[in-house]
Amino acid sequence: MEVFVQQLINGITLGSIYGLIAIGYTMVFGIIGMVNFAHGDVFMVSAFIALIAFLVLTSFLGVGSILLALLIVLVVGMVFTSLVNWTIERFAYRPLRGSFRLAPLISAIGMSIFLMNFVQVAQGPRNKSTPPMIDGEFVLMGGEAYPVTLSYKQILIWVVTAALLAAFWYVVAKTSLGRAQRACEQDQKMAALLGIDVDRTISVTFIIGAAVAGTMYLIHYGVVSFADGFLPGVKAFTAAVLGGIGSLPGAVIGGLLIGLIETFWSAYFSTDYKDVAAFSILAITLIFLPQGILGRPDVEKV
């Protein structure tokens, strides 16, 4: 029982992070129907930016309060990652809009390789680990033998995920920007005829899609390396597909499911094949339930 509850907590935390990354995938896929292959690496870059921002704040500027530092890191990480994602969209994807279908995907694969190796060259190939940013935990149940704990950082990750999901949902459902996004999703040409700046809307989608997942990843693991983009990226994509690509709550639900499955698989079976489990879920979902849990079925038109 204790093991189960502990794994549940861990799984939800991991799942929240996957969900946060998946939001980026799902927003971009929703609006331009493209698998943003570089998203995993953008998120890795984001983790590096958060790491550097944290180090600058604590060692150069001497910010004492860890909470204040984290808040600033969150904001700084968002700003710089958005800048990176905006630039990528502007240079690597926008010129290819209207090109043949595979062109943006291949460009994205190139971008992914570029980002990964850029970080490797610029920051070195070693793992970068930080001192734990947030200490402390609640002991929920269980005795000395196996205490079930809920740490502050896990709570932070949950809260940030929930808050961001709510914020994004609000943006998409209630604001004029969200209306423009939904219009572009349905028919870009028609949206443009009705006076929507399609390029701008897509740019904004990329900007907010980059989000804060990198910061959360760093807080969770406390370590990041240049190669950390690919695997979480694929898992987050799995989450987005599982939840129904194009749907924001779907992305988070999918993320939670993937996180839980991975955690329980590792706890009860073996850690060796946990990535195989994630990939198998991806394949099985796409084959048997391609529209996902919350997605709309894709109607084939002639």
Binding site: I52, S99, L102, E300
Partner: protein
């Protein structure tokens, strides 16, 4: 109007250019500030500390600004002028080729004649040796004679291509690119031996020749799946791995020879192609791509984790080397060199491997070329264009897709077992997603469906990255710590993006129809749909 237009085009808005450059500088500063401006390093107590790199950051920003200014002040006006000139040229009816064009063609013709002449002279000078060989056959002289004949043929071939170009223009020479390329590949080891000597040739034949040909083979195999059938496969490397591991395991366990296992590895890979292809039949486009990616990764993870069979990360070593139909390439008395009365040299094995992979590449290209003309090949291309139309015309799309997968996988498996025997050692590291991306980009950059394009793209990508290893002189400029190979994948990644922007249809953007009525017409690649799956 015609007097005003060039004036308008050549006028450069300096204020605007500088404003844009300032914005670009600001953007570059923001982009590079975290990752270039700061470096994370471990100090002695193994803590992470930051070091600043302001000069480097300044250089980056300055570079971006300068490039932007150059672009808006020089490149854009130049391109506008050129576009204007082209429009004007189109407006006036085209005239006979200019004297420059005529001169160029005559020059080509003259070069062609010259090269042919050199070829004949070369043959003449080798004649004595050929006569000697006929009189007293010996293996060493035999090889020299063979090399001489190959070189003569090649020189005459090159001369012929030039002459055709000189007399008929680019259109006439276009059909000869393929045969000329094959001719060059056949004589390449001879050229390398003549140019670099016995010691230096190994690097050229092995690192450039064999390495590139392996990727040409993989590219041709994937070309069937992606270029012809239009199914985007991101996990192609799985079949490469199946071929390599089945050769390694079967050869080590049962001691079968390379020539038995080569077709077997192909068949096994085809089986896997069908097995993995079957569940994804219903998927289309991006989804198909992602599922194949998942399959590729699953196979790699199984190779890593199934330690009792595959030996995990450590890989399999000591894989038997290929033999010349039973004669091993070693220094023993039973070895290839000793049997033919030659001095032992590792070059013979390399040359043999080169011709094996060349044969495999030619086989792949030939089979694909013939299949394109058969009903199944036409069904593939019809499937790529429109699946629904295909189905309504009574084409069995299941079989069509599965044969494409199986055939692509077969060639991947053959390449894999060749890879295993060439390396003598394989590990899951060689079959990562990056390999799949590399092969896919070779197919795409070459222009999907084009075989010559695959060859050119493989030379550019693989040869280019190998070439980086040779750039030692850069160390003199950037300091001894500078390692050009570090930038290999960086350049590769940006090349993918840039070529997609510059030439999204790939390098060879025209398609040759497989069926013709009366005369051949060249089809633009932009009329061909891709990847609808």
């Amino acid at each position: 109007m015609s007097a005003e237009a060039p004036a308008a085009a050549s006028r450069v808005d300096f204020a605007r250019a500088f404003k844009d450059a300032a914005v670009a500088a600001l953007l570059a500063f923001g982009l590079f500030l975290p990752l270039i401006g700061f470096e994370t390093v471990q100090n002695i107590r193994n803590e992470l500390v930051l070091e600043t790199r302001w000069p480097l950051l300044f250089n980056f920003v300055a570079l971006v600004t300068a490039a932007h200014l150059f672009g808006s002040l020089v490149v854009t006006p130049w391109r506008e002028r050129r576009a204007l000139a082209r429009r004007r040229a189109e407006a006036t009816p085209s005239q006979a080729p200019s004297w420059l064009g005529r001169l160029g063609r005559r020059l080509c013709y003259a070069i062609g004649l010259g090269v042919c002449f050199i070829g004949v002279v070369n043959f003449g000078s080798d004649l004595t040796e050929i006569i000697d060989f006929i009189g007293a056959p010996s293996a060493g002289a035999g090889f020299t004679v063979l090399a001489a004949l190959l070189l003569t043929g090649f020189l005459i071939g090159v001369g012929y291509v030039f002459m055709r170009f000189g007399s008929g223009g680019a259109a006439a020479a276009g059909h000869l690119i393929g045969p000329a390329g094959v001719g060059f590949l056949v004589v390449f080891p001879v050229v390398a031996l003549l140019g670099a000597g016995w010691g230096g040739a190994v690097k050229w034949i092995d690192n450039f020749g064999i390495q590139i040909l392996i990727y040409v083979m993989l590219g041709l195999g994937l070309n069937i799946v992606v270029g012809l059938a239009g199914l985007l496969d991101l996990g192609y490397v799985a079949f490469y791995a199946v071929g390599a591991y089945s050769y390694a395991l079967l050869a080590k366990t049962f001691g079968f020879s390379f020539w038995i296992l080569l077709p077997l590895a192909g068949i096994l890979a085809a089986l896997w192609g069908v097995m993995l292809g079957f569940p994804v039949l219903r998927l289309r486009g991006d989804y198909l791509a992602i599922v194949t990616l998942a399959f590729g990764e699953i196979i790699r993870l199984v190779l890593i984790n199934w330690v009792p069979v595959t030996n995990g990360y450590a890989g399999i070593g000591g894989i038997p080397r290929p033999t010349f139909f039973g004669i091993p390439f070693n220094a023993s008395d039973q070895g290839f060199a000793a049997m033919l009365g030659l001095e032992f040299s590792p070059v013979y094995r390399i040359i043999f491997l080169y011709y094996v992979i060349l044969g495999l590449v030619l086989l792949t290209a030939y089979v694909t070329m013939r299949l394109r003309r058969l009903p199944i090949g036409r069904a593939w291309e019809a499937l790529r264009e429109d699946e629904i139309a295909c189905r309504s015309l009574g084409i069995n799309t299941t079989n069509t897709k599965l044969t494409a997968f199986a055939l692509g996988a077969t060639f991947g498996g053959l390449a894999g077992s060749f890879f295993a025997t060439r390396q003598g050692f394989i590990s899951p590291e060689s079959f990562s997603f990056m390999e799949s991306a590399l092969i896919l980009s070779i197919v795409v950059l070459g222009g999907m469906g084009s075989q010559v394009g695959v060859g050119i793209a493989a030379i550019a990508m693989i040869g280019g990255t190998e070439f980086l290893r040779e750039l030692d002189f850069l160390k003199a400029i950037f300091g001894s710590a500078f390692d050009p190979t570090q930038y290999r994948m960086l350049i590769f990644g940006s090349a993918l993006v840039l070529i997609m922007i510059w030439k999204p249809r790939g390098l060879i953007a025209t398609r040759e129809p497989s069926a013709v009525f009366k005369e051949k017409k060249i089809i633009s690649g932009s009329l061909v749909k891709e990847g609808r799956g």
